[in-house]
């Protein structure tokens, strides 16, 4: 199979996966306990008003009609109204999504920069004390759930030393700037960002470090490294320019997948630090039976995962021409 056919097939697969995910969502959220109108009954709704409300939401229609209607709404980005905020879900979720992207993006960039460097050095100095110690440290970091790393950092840097704020995204009463830079570039924001981003970075550090180390070991066994060394190039040049560069390939793929997986991690980290992102919003929405909001958050997270897996597959075949398209 050629590259073109592979890509076409992969796109088809993407569509099927999206459809399946979307059907899963429909089934799950139709099974949710408690009728969506139960919230309004508490507001003193008469049975007639309640029925009218059900009709408004289209819940009196047969299931297949609801399914088609639901598909149409999702495709047009219409997620309905939040029960709690009484605002369109899309307006709420876009802001939250941006906050999550900024937090998890920062965490992942730090994790991969440190992980790649650290892993390359570990592979280079194999059998050293540094390597053995490094493996233990990365395994310990990997064994810690996100919330636990967050709590430790919180206890040390926020409660004990008092260097960083313990929750939120900005000091209450702080100026809400208009532009992107004013919003996400202010010193106050960065101080709030530091601990949650560091938490994510520590948790996601293990994968690139261990992977970089093992691919480095493979590459270092290759003949061309011996040749470069024999040419009399300085060690540093061989390490960074030749060995590390050739080891980075598998990392790119894993990075795309990790970005998707970080969506799940955001749920926990945002709860620990009270970060107003999508993960925390989803937990709140599920707890308050705010289905439209919970579903939109879940849909967006799943979409990021699916698209990232797709990108991972494509970059892999693009970067490594030796890959067989099976």
């Amino acid at each position: 199979m050629g590259l073109r056919a592979y890509v076409a097939r992969r796109i088809l697969q993407l569509i099927v996966t999206f459809w399946a995910f979307f059907t899963l969502l429909f089934v799950l959220f139709r099974m949710m306990p408690g009728d969506p109108t139960s919230m309004f009954i508490m507001d003193g709704m008469t049975p007639e008003q309640r029925e009218q409300r059900i009709a408004e939401l289209g819940l009196d229609q047969p299931l297949y009609v609801q399914y088609v209607e639901y598909a149409r709404q999702l495709l047009t980005g219409d997620f309905g109204q939040s029960f709690i905020y009484r605002d369109p879900v899309i307006d709420i979720i876009v802001v939250r999504f941006m906050n999550t992207i900024v937090l998890m993006g920062t965490a992942l960039v730090i994790a991969y920069l440190i992980g790649i460097t650290f892993g390359a050095i570990m592979g280079w100095w194999r059998d050293s004390r540094f390597e053995r110690g490094g493996i233990v440290v990365t395994l310990i970091a990997r064994s810690s759930p996100e919330f636990w790393v967050g709590i430790v950092l919180l206890s040390v840097f926020a409660f004990w030393l008092g260097w960083f704020p313990s929750s939120g995204m900005r000091t209450t009463g702080g100026e809400l700037g208009g532009g992107f830079v004013a919003r996400y570039g202010s010193a106050d924001f960065l101080r709030h960002l530091f601990l949650p981003a560091l938490t994510g970075a520590i948790v996601y550090l293990a994968t690139p470090t261990l992977l970089m180390r093992s691919t480095m070991l493979d590459v270092l066994n290759a003949d061309f490294i011996e040749i470069k060394k024999a040419e009399g190039l300085p060690e540093r040049t061989v390490l960074y320019k030749h060995a590390a560069r050739n080891s980075i390939l598998p990392i790119v793929t894993v990075m795309a997948i990790a970005t998707g997986a970080a969506m799940g991690g955001s749920v926990v980290i945002e709860t620990v630090f009270n970060w107003p992102g999508m993960g925390r919003e989803m937990v709140n929405a599920v707890n308050n039976n705010d289905y439209p909001l919970a579903m939109a958050a879940f849909f967006l997270m799943g979409s990021v995962v699916i698209i990232m897996n797709f990108i991972a597959d494509l970059t892999y075949v693009y970067l490594d021409p030796r890959v067989e398209y099976e």
Binding site: Q13, V16, T17, F18, A20, F21, L24, L28, F29, M31, M32, P33, R126, D127, I135, V136, L139, I140, R142, S143, S144, P145, E146, F147, W148, I151, V152, L154, S155, F159, S214, L217, G260, A261, M263, G264, G265, V267, V268, T271, G279, M282, V283, V286, N287, A294, A297, F298, M301, G302, V305, I306, N309
Partner: protein, 313 residues
């Protein structure tokens, strides 16, 4: 019931000796591997704590084995609420005046149950899917692998949250939610391994003498991929425990079975995280140690499965 025998066994005694020999060769893997040894030691300690956490009564012998918990985990101390560690309460008390150490010990069980059951089920499903998929190939492979792809598209924790919200917060539902996602990685890895075994002469000769598909899959191929299954089982235990702890921390844990994650959730909801270090640190450290032990063991197994790693040492 098997009996433990410590004396050297004559090879002529047969099965028991063979069994012990088998275990011994398996344990040799851990020789000279400090990390693996530490992992095993921690895991065995947790196992013992979990087994002897609460008192047992063997009725027909009229015997009661005392539990390890100094107090009843639900009992309220006479002293006070949020007490810092003392002789009577080595790890202090909670906001309800309950003994933290007893809760910690009792919580070991939940971790062991979730870790072992979820990992076993996930690996069981994953191994079978991978085996059947690779062995039969064709449309069977296509269908099973597309399902696996779809499961890869579902974000783990958010899915578990929604499922537990729908089915209700019980330990069984939490395990189901974890298993429904966790089998995917085993399925993919076992499939690729079986694909390479399928081409080997031993499978061909089994087919030639007319062995059934089931027999070839489970008698001939499975034993060859079993080490890989064990490796994935070790990692699955770790991920399952982390997932349960995270779910409980978010408030979706089983209210009737106090787990370590739920203890930390309680600290959060009691707004005591700033002062009650004795309440928040022990369960967190316990989760970390437990997951660390299975990952250390997994690393040792990895070297068995992938001999290349051994040469690089």
């Amino acid at each position: 019931m098997s009996t433990e025998r410590t004396s050297p066994i004559d090879s002529a005694t047969g099965a028991v000796g063979d069994g012990l020999d088998y275990v011994r060769t398996k344990l040799e893997v851990f020789e000279g591997d400090r990390l693996g040894q530490i992992g095993l030691a921690i895991l065995v300690t947790f196992l013992l704590i979990g087994i002897f956490a609460r008192p047992y009564t063997i009725e027909f012998l009229d015997l009661t084995i005392p539990g390890l918990t100094p107090h009843d985990p639900g009992e309220r101390a006479v002293g006070g609420r949020l007490e810092s560690p003392s002789a009577d309460h080595p790890l202090g008390t909670t906001d309800m005046g309950r003994d933290v150490l007893s809760q910690l010990i009792a919580g070991t069980r939940v971790t062991l149950i979730v870790g072992s059951l979820a990992a076993f089920m996930a690996v069981f499903i994953g191994t079978n899917v991978g085996l059947v998929s690779a062995y039969f190939g064709g449309w069977v492979d296509d269908v099973l692998m597309r399902i696996t792809d779809i499961v890869y598209g579902v974000p783990f924790l958010p899915f578990a949250i929604v499922l537990v919200a729908i089915l209700g917060s019980s330990l069984v539902n939490i395990i189901v939610a974890i298993v429904l996602i966790l089998w995917r990685s085993t399925a993919r890895v076992i499939r690729s391994q079986v694909l390479s075994h399928k081409q080997r002469p031993y499978v061909e000769s089994a087919q030639a003498i007319g062995a059934s598909h089931t027999r070839i899959m489970y008698r001939h191929i499975l034993p060859n991929v079993l080490p890989l299954t064990f490796l994935y089982a070790a990692f699955a235990v770790g991920w399952a425990v982390i997932a349960e702890a995270s779910l409980s921390f978010l408030g979706f844990g089983d209210p009737n079975m106090l787990s370590w994650g739920e203890m930390i959730y309680n600290v959060y909801t009691a707004n005591a995280i700033r002062e009650a270090w004795w309440w928040v640190f022990p369960p967190g450290i316990a989760i970390m140690l437990f997951v660390m032990s299975v990952f250390f063991i997994g690393r040792t197994l990895e070297e068995v499965v992938n001999p290349e790693l051994r040469h690089q040492k």
